[in-house]
């Protein structure tokens, strides 16, 4: 044995203990590794399918594609609202990329000033991670390609092509069609169509006003989806066209409006504030519904700056208010047909005469006629033609308010029509019952209330649409015609406005009142004779002027509206229909604080719009074999200037003072 014994004496207790314990360590390691293997088998063999699904849902994403929004067209198919391509710049915030430096870099390529950057950063704070924020809309092609070339350096930036809503006629349809805008948090709901994920898409727009709002769901269409492979930051890696779901564009909404009439109506409004409504007297279709001044809805699509919004909201003439539906005004003398119909219905003899001396003493005060020199002896026909206030004071007093209220309601006052879009204000139709329940301060109907009611002042207000409906019903003479604004949605025709009950007036009475309106516009002494000449041969127009005061003239020496500030001037109104033999179109014109007179401020505008409507009608065109030359147009006065006092013109004050 050459080996030193020390090796064996060293095999002592310590070594034995170590060997036993190292077996233990080996056992521990083996058991641990086996446990890991068992766990792996559990995950990879037993639960593999479950985790494969989770992995696939990580890997693949459906990117929602907003559908093209439906078109809005006029009655002839002219496009009023459409979409155009939009180069958009999107930035996502994720754990790795902060938006602030990204915006700084982007500012080299697109105009992004400090204020806009600050506003966007606030938006980023509100937006969850990985949801893209639109930094810039409507980039030029140059900007778009400049960003795209640098895309690899900026992984959190995408420049893509979406669609943006565009209104080719600018402000002409702004109030009727409304506009679309970005989705607000308030728009989102837990359930229903507004809970859909597409609303969070940066390219999605929601209808905000008018038709865009009322028919939002029809216009939206069906959301599409693109199957894409994404990485952990949600960035797109690959597209899988096989898995795509096509978007279906929204339905087309066809309006009854006519783009030519609508645009001409807005043009003739000039700088004035007011509304023009044109309605078909046979079908009830609205051909024109304009509120002036208007605004460019395209600006709202992009998002207004605070300054722009303030300018619109603070402007005295209130462009954001739809005066055709939401503005209510005293109808003034345009209400006299209603009073006349009520009087005829109440059994008052139209040939009974009232003497007008320019004023009438009643209830301790003098009720003035607009013509201070008086009209002399008037029957009902003459009183309508001359718009004699004294006649209607007395007639209204005799029959009381409830007769008038019944007639007014039958003609459409005091109600909102179902035209498909919200926003109508009904106005007021006074009656004893109404005053008892609604006027807490003074619930009794006083005789004096009836007196002013007779000439369309006091407890009677109406919007432009109601005035047009009244005129159309008078012109139609048979039916309680309803207005219709939406012709069809997605090719499905909407119910027409002429399937309605008959008017509760006798034909004889209606003919009588219509004759009065014809005289207003066609008798050389009618209040709006000169301004109502269409120059279309035997196609003639019938009408009625109106001037509604907005302040009390008691104790006011100078009643001339021209000297007071805009907000205190009288409203000027004109309602008309044409042709007088076979009425086709009815129109109402309201010039808010026009300050002149129904004949001077409103009637020439009505005539111009009516001419456009008539000339577009093939049947009318056929009738006009040889149109007469246009009448002198110098009677469309520049605002704020006095109308010239020519022979056949009515006196400057065409108002109906109380």
């Amino acid at each position: 044995m050459s080996e030193p014994s020390i090796f064996f004496t060293e095999v002592n207790e310590r070594q034995g203990a170590f060997h036993r314990r190292s077996f233990l360590l080996g056992g521990f390691a083996g058991a641990g590794l086996l446990a890991l293997g068992g766990r792996l088998a559990h995950l990879q063999l037993l639960e593999a399918q479950r985790y494969e699904k989770l992995s696939a849902s990580n890997q693949f994403n459906f990117r929602l594609v907003p559908p093209p929004r439906g078109l809005i067209v006029d009655r002839n198919g002219q496009v009023l609202a459409t979409n155009r391509p939009n180069f958009r710049l999107l930035v996502v915030k994720d754990g790795e990329h902060e938006p602030a430096p990204t915006l700084k870099t982007l500012a080299h390529f697109v105009p992004l000033d400090e204020a806009r950057q600050a506003r966007l950063l606030k938006e980023f704070e509100r937006t969850p991670n990985r949801v893209p924020v639109s930094v810039m809309e409507d980039m030029t092609w140059e900007q778009f390609s400049a960003i795209n070339i640098r895309a690899p350096e900026m992984p959190n930036v995408t420049a893509d092509m979406g669609e943006v809503r565009v209104y080719p006629h600018g402000g002409a349809f702004a109030h009727v069609i409304g506009y679309v805008a970005k989705v607000n948090r308030e728009d989102l709901t837990e359930t229903g169509p507004n809970s859909e994920a597409i609303l969070l898409h940066p390219g999605f727009r929601i209808g905000r006003q008018g038709v865009e709002k009322a028919f939002d769901l029809d216009l939206r269409g069906r959301t599409g989806a693109r199957k894409v492979e994404v990485d952990a930051r949600g960035r797109e890696v690959r597209n899988d066209p096989g898995g795509d779901i096509q978007a279906v564009s929204g339905k087309t909404v066809e309006l009854t409006l006519d783009v030519d009439i609508q645009k001409r109506a807005l043009e003739v409004m000039d700088d004035e504030s007011g509304a023009i409504v044109v309605m078909d007297c046979r079908s009830g279709d609205l051909l024109c519904m304009v509120s002036a001044p208007s605004f460019d809805a395209n600006r709202f699509v992009r998002g207004l700056s605070v300054a722009e919004y303030r300018a619109l909201a603070d402007y005295e003439r209130r462009p954001l208010l739809d005066k055709a539906m939401s503005g209510t005004y005293p109808p003034g003398s345009t209400f006299k047909m209603t009073t006349a119909l009520a009087a005829l219905g109440a059994g008052i003899d139209p040939e009974e005469r009232v003497f007008c001396s320019g004023g009438w003493r009643f209830g301790g005060r003098t009720w003035r006629c607009w013509r201070h020199s008086g009209h002399g002896s008037q029957n009902m026909h003459e009183a309508i033609k001359n718009s004699c206030d004294v006649y209607f004071y007395q007639v209204a007093l005799r029959m009381g308010p409830d007769h008038i209220a019944r007639a007014a309601k039958a003609l459409g006052f005091g109600q909102a029509f179902d035209i498909g879009i919200p926003g109508q204000r009904t106005g007021v139709v006074g009656s004893t019952e109404w005053k008892r329940t609604r006027v807490k301060r003074d619930p009794t109907w006083h005789p004096g209330d009836s007196v002013s009611y007779g000439i369309g002042q006091g407890y009677i207000t109406a919007n432009g649409l109601q005035l047009a409906v009244m005129t159309a019903r008078l012109a139609n003479g048979r039916k309680q015609l309803n207005p219709r604004l939406i012709k069809s949605v997605g090719g499905v025709e909407m119910p027409p406005g002429d399937e309605v009950p008959s008017l509760p007036f006798s034909q004889e009475h209606l003919d009588y009142v219509r004759a009065g309106m014809i005289a207003v516009a066609n008798d050389a002494r009618g209040t709006a004779f000169r301004q109502s000449q269409l120059g279309l041969g035997d196609v003639l127009m019938a009408g009625k002027t109106g001037t509604a005061q907005v302040r009390s003239y008691d104790g006011v020496a100078d009643r001339d509206s021209r000297s007071v500030r805009w907000g205190l001037k009288d409203h000027n109104l004109y309602v008309a229909f044409a042709p007088i033999d076979q009425p086709r179109y009815a129109i109402s014109v309201i010039i808010q604080h026009g300050g002149l007179g129904g004949a001077t401020a409103a009637a020439p505008r009505a005539r111009e719009v009516m001419r456009v409507a008539l000339l577009k009608d093939p049947e009318i065109r056929a009738r006009i074999t040889q149109p007469l030359p246009m009448p002198d147009v110098s009677d469309l006065p520049p605002t704020g200037m006095a109308p010239d006092g020519s022979v056949i013109a009515p006196p400057p004050e065409t108002g109906d003072p109380v």
Binding site: S2, E3, I6, F7, E10, N12, E13, R14, Q15, A17, F18, H19, R21, S22, L24, L25, G26, F28, A29, G30, G32, L33, L36, G37, R39, L40, A41, L43, Q44, L45, E47, A48, R50, Y51, E52, L54, S55, A56, N58, Q59, E229, V230, D231, A232, R233, V237
Partner: protein, 384 residues
Amino acid sequence: MTMSALRRPGERDRLVVKFTQIDWTFCIALCLLAGVGSLMMFSVAGSSWEPWAGPHLFRFGICFALMIALAMFDVRVWFALAYPIYGIGLALLVAVELVGDTRMGATRWLDIGFMSFQPSEVMKVGIVLALARFYHGISADDARLSWWLLIPAAMIAAPVLLVAHQPDLGTAMLIAMTGAAVVVLAGLSWKIIGAAVISFAAAVPIMVIFVMHEYQRKRVMTFLNPENDPSGSGYHILQSKIALGSGGFFGKGYGLGSQSQLNFLPEKHTDFIFATLAEEFGFLGCALVLALFAAVIFMALRTASLAHSHFGRLAAAGVTATFTLYVLINGAMVMGLAPVVGVPMPLLSYGGTVMLTVMIGWGLVQSVRVHRYSEVTSGKGAFV
């Protein structure tokens, strides 16, 4: 022939003879593991040697050469340096406490001019050496149960407390467990072991509530309930499990792991590289790699049992225990069995410090193997 050569004192000191005594099977297993790591890094980098696969292989090469070089040192040299290395490690830990770099809320790094490193890594080898050195000098009875054992207890406690204070709970636990493994291997009484296990189990909830930092507590809570917070801290565990599970038996194929390629898997090239492997090579690949780890561990344990010196045995076994702990903890973490504690998979994961520590450890083990017949003089209780 080799065996007899080793038994002749003059012969076994020759470098060539020493070289033949290195466990080359073991070395091949190490190379295979490092190769698998590099292969996965090549895949997750999108079939590129940069930035991980190339450097990983390069570092492994350097460290492998270092391991061979260290194996040439006689085990008596290691014995002599055991306490100095431990002392230097402890001094560096104190230095970190005083002048260390603070990164991400933890003071772990020491800046030494041209590079910064974590002294806690030195301690992983230092504690094994120092404990082996200590137990070499005492009898089996004393190692079982005696007042002498207060010394190893203090030797473990000092670095553990310093590292825990940085705070780096993962490393502190690793050092404590390594130390405990050596103490158990040296023959600690089962009564003490049982008592320690029971008191540790009782101490865990107290630690969680009173001692841990907020982020550590959050990690523990997340581990217990990963689905509660799928995009926050639970994200790592969940995504790792998805990667593993979706791999199935054969895997998705090399370079086709969607979880790792699309970055759903966090730390895909470092702590979670095993999940990358599992996704692309499935159960089959994982089982093979685990078998390789098992082979490495058992070859190292065999080396430990071959040693004639008690110091050599304990040092080799201690290093093996550390390695085993790394593998098991990382595996458990990746598979959702343990909280995310930042322990890498040795040899597979990218990272220079751990690679260096592990290969120095294997250098010690190979030195023990090459010099298994070396006599190490014992001095009971001697410190030199």
